[in-house]
Homo-oligomer: 477 residues x 2
């Protein structure tokens, strides 16, 4: 019992300490556990099941987009990592190095992949010979390792699960199209499946991926007003192809370099779900990624007929991910537990309900109650799940809109950053020095240059020189 | 074009050189590629897709058996690996050691998991407090690393994909039941999904897993008469629990040690599928794990109406995993390619067929042809796929039975081992010295003590002392 108690102890409120609230939710919703390996975590059943649902639905969308899955080794020889100059500079400081195999020292040390561009290049170099071999649209589901100093569950850990797509194309245009296609696929997935609205845009030169020509990103706004980079898609042009000598014979019988892209999303998305939708009672899961969509809780379950009726109702809901909680805990306890775990719909059924031929349905997100005739439960649950999914998106969107501000002058920018939270839209000259100065002075980095541009003014919000583009600024995870 | 040619060059025949035949099939069916990392391979789309089908169907069976998926770190600190004496002796000589994170040397070196018993123990030690927390029936899908000297695609590589289940139970009986349940689940999966008959049995003391009380195994017979250990399930008793101090408070308020099991199957199964079912034209895939179950090949596809009809037929087969091969290769080429890749059913459709309102269906396994009215194709394909699945199993079973021999004396054993291939069933005294002598003299190891015992004689086939059990002997991969 001492163990159970931990669950329904009140968690820290968001207002009081958002970071602590996050940690409390992650632990009390039983998503992860810490381990003896610093910076690495255990994904427990409740956490891993969310990832499985993300994976399954994202993979279905990949397959529709003609992506094929493969698996490449987890190791990269040091000489291979070093082939592309910017890339090695970006990653070498944070990789884990293997120096011994069994009892013997290796001739060349190898790192555990932090990302697999170099491995895919090494593979494509042999696999691509002719225009007939193009395009290659490959993806892998795997874990990667980045030896981070500061770690937080889901948001930043030394090992994390993700997918990384790596493509090769005959020309620049096709590569650019694929880069944007995957970014849009990610954005649609976040909005439609995770109920998480995102800004689609391009990273600045300073913020782009090591070795990329351009990086596209989707940026979501968390409940505390900080941004979460939720997925990225990179166009490499022929930079890697030249470094790795990946050429193909075209129809005109000439040797040409391929054009490449890569794109990835990770378990970080689970952190996003928590921070976009959660509340002071715990997790709130979008129905599409809720491992349990409906929990049936019998009230006074020892009374004759209650458990039978609860089982019957559970069976009638088998088209959903449904669970019956027939444990010997009290109903109040079960309610709190179901809320902590973010189960979208709860069905309560007790002796009086049975007598009246009804049950009480409760939404997790709004806590609204619906007295529902037993025969209509299935239909009502279907309705509620679809409404919850939609409403969660709309609430998150409204939150983002309320917390997106426009700054037309440096004074205004400073005023917003000190008094408000969220995104700041502002014009920018395109100069990296200016971008760095803004970050140093305010802590706000450029999140992206959104696809949907507006002309807020003609001059850079910081330096007053002519503006090139509108940028979303924000403090970020 | 030079690249395509590689595919339909004749492969080495099985009779001539089985090992070379295997390598040829693996490469020409486009399952894998070699990499710059010695002993590691790329699983290409055709190879990975088989693994995805195995994974999906095995995972469904796991979920029916109340298994929950989790994910644990890929790293094990050296001190953790060393906690169970037999286990560290078994694995330490073949692990990859990480000594540096980024630019810094680690305080304690960590290895990449060769298997995760020690990590699960470390996790369970905190996660299990009371009898209410039991049983834990967890599994993870991941890759593991064993620094092998000799490697072969799928059969033995330095990194491979697998699942590893790790359970904790309140008592010895429940642990033993789970060990056997999972072994039987594996066996049923191999027989029903992979069409691969297996012998179910127990490993001898010498052959059991490092740290286990007992190890159960399923052993399949390859086409060349060698055995492949295809899945194992281990009962650890409370050995690991004592080494890691995993105790729980029972209902009687006493502290007790948990009893644990682990069980795994890997991409090695793909090697099994190749060597059980393949032939001199390439791969033969059981329909249940064939990424493409039906290929539609238009003949004279430039003639008006042919491609349209082929597309129509393909569309009508969308309830299967179907592909249309409308590339500009010749039909003969496409047939050979479909055979190399092991696609179970081929549909040929040309102008004459269209005129006659029919198509030609060809089974990959027997090459039998069926002239089929166009309207009946869907029904016929369904029939053929189910027949092929069944027939492939029966043929493999017949092959195993023909190649399973009984030896009642040491002369007989020697005679069989020098003139025949396959399994030898013989009585054994139970003495490890005898087991080692047999292996040294003949190269045949004990594969298992089968659940289905027979009393072939009263004395050990080797030493003549009283026999304890019947054993399957064989040369193995």
């Amino acid at each position: 019992m001492a163990k159970d108690k931990k669950l329904v102890e009140a968690i820290t409120s968001m207002e009081e300490d958002f970071a602590q609230w996050y940690t409390d939710v992650v632990r009390k919703a039983d998503l992860i556990d810490y381990t003896s390996v610093k910076g690495c975590m255990v994904l427990k059943p409740a956490g891993y099941a969310i990832w499985e649902l993300i994976q399954r639905q994202l993979d279905d969308r990949f397959k529709e987009a003609e992506v094929e899955n493969v698996y490449l080794p987890m190791f990269i020889p040091e000489s291979l990592l070093q082939k592309e100059k910017d890339h090695v500079e970006g990653f070498a400081p944070e990789v884990a190095w293997v120096t011994h195999g069994g009892l013997n020292e290796l001739e060349e040390r190898i790192c555990v992949r932090p990302t697999s561009e170099t491995l895919f290049c090494d593979f494509y170099k042999n696999d691509i010979q002719s225009y007939r071999d193009l395009p290659k649209i490959y993806n892998q589901w795997c874990s990667v390792v980045r030896w981070e100093k500061e770690t937080r569950p889901f948001l930043r850990s030394r090992e994390f699960l993700w997918q990384e797509g790596h493509t090769a194309h005959a020309d620049a245009k096709e590569a650019e199209e694929r880069t944007e296609q995957m970014l849009n696929l990610y954005a649609d997935f976040c909005e439609e499946v995770l109920a998480m609205p995102v800004i689609r845009g391009k990273k600045t030169e300073k913020e782009k991926f090591a070795g990329a020509l351009s990086t596209y990103t989707i940026e979501a706004l968390m409940h505390d007003g900080k941004a979460l980079q939720s997925g990225t898609s990179h166009n490499f042009g022929d930079g890697f192809a030249k470094a790795f000598d990946i050429q193909y014979t075209d129809k005109d019988n000439k040797l040409k370099y391929v054009h490449q892209t890569s794109w990835g999303m990770s378990t970080r998305l689970i952190g996003g779900i928590i921070m976009v939708h959660g509340d002071d009672s715990g997790l709130v899961l979008p129905p599409m990624v809720a491992p349990t969509q409906v929990v049936v809780v019998p009230v006074m379950q020892k009374k004759e007929g209650v458990l039978e009726k609860a089982r019957e109702i559970t069976a009638s809901l088998s088209c959903f991910r449904v669970k019956l909680d027939d444990s010997d805990k009290s109903p109040g306890w079960k309610f709190a537990e179901a809320e902590m775990r973010g189960i979208p719909v709860r069905v309560e059924i007790g002796p009086k309900d049975i007598e009246a031929g009804q049950a009480v349905l409760v939404r997790r997100d709004t806590r609204e109650k619906y007295i529902t005739p037993i025969d209509d439960i299935q239909k009502k649950v279907a309705e509620l799940l679809s409404e919850i999914q939609k409403d969660m998106y709309n609430r998150a969107l409204a939150h983002r809109e309320e917390n997106t501000h426009e700054a037309r002058s440096w004074d205004e920018f400073n005023n917003i950053i000190t008094t408000k939270q969220g995104f700041i839209k502002a014009m920018w000259c395109g100069d990296t020095a200016c971008e760095e100065a803004i970050k140093e002075k305010t802590g706000a980095s450029t999140r992206c240059m959104p696809f949907e541009q507006e002309q807020l003014s003609d001059v850079c919000v910081h330096c007053g020189k002519p503006a090139k583009t509108m940028v979303y600024f924000g403090r970020a995870y």
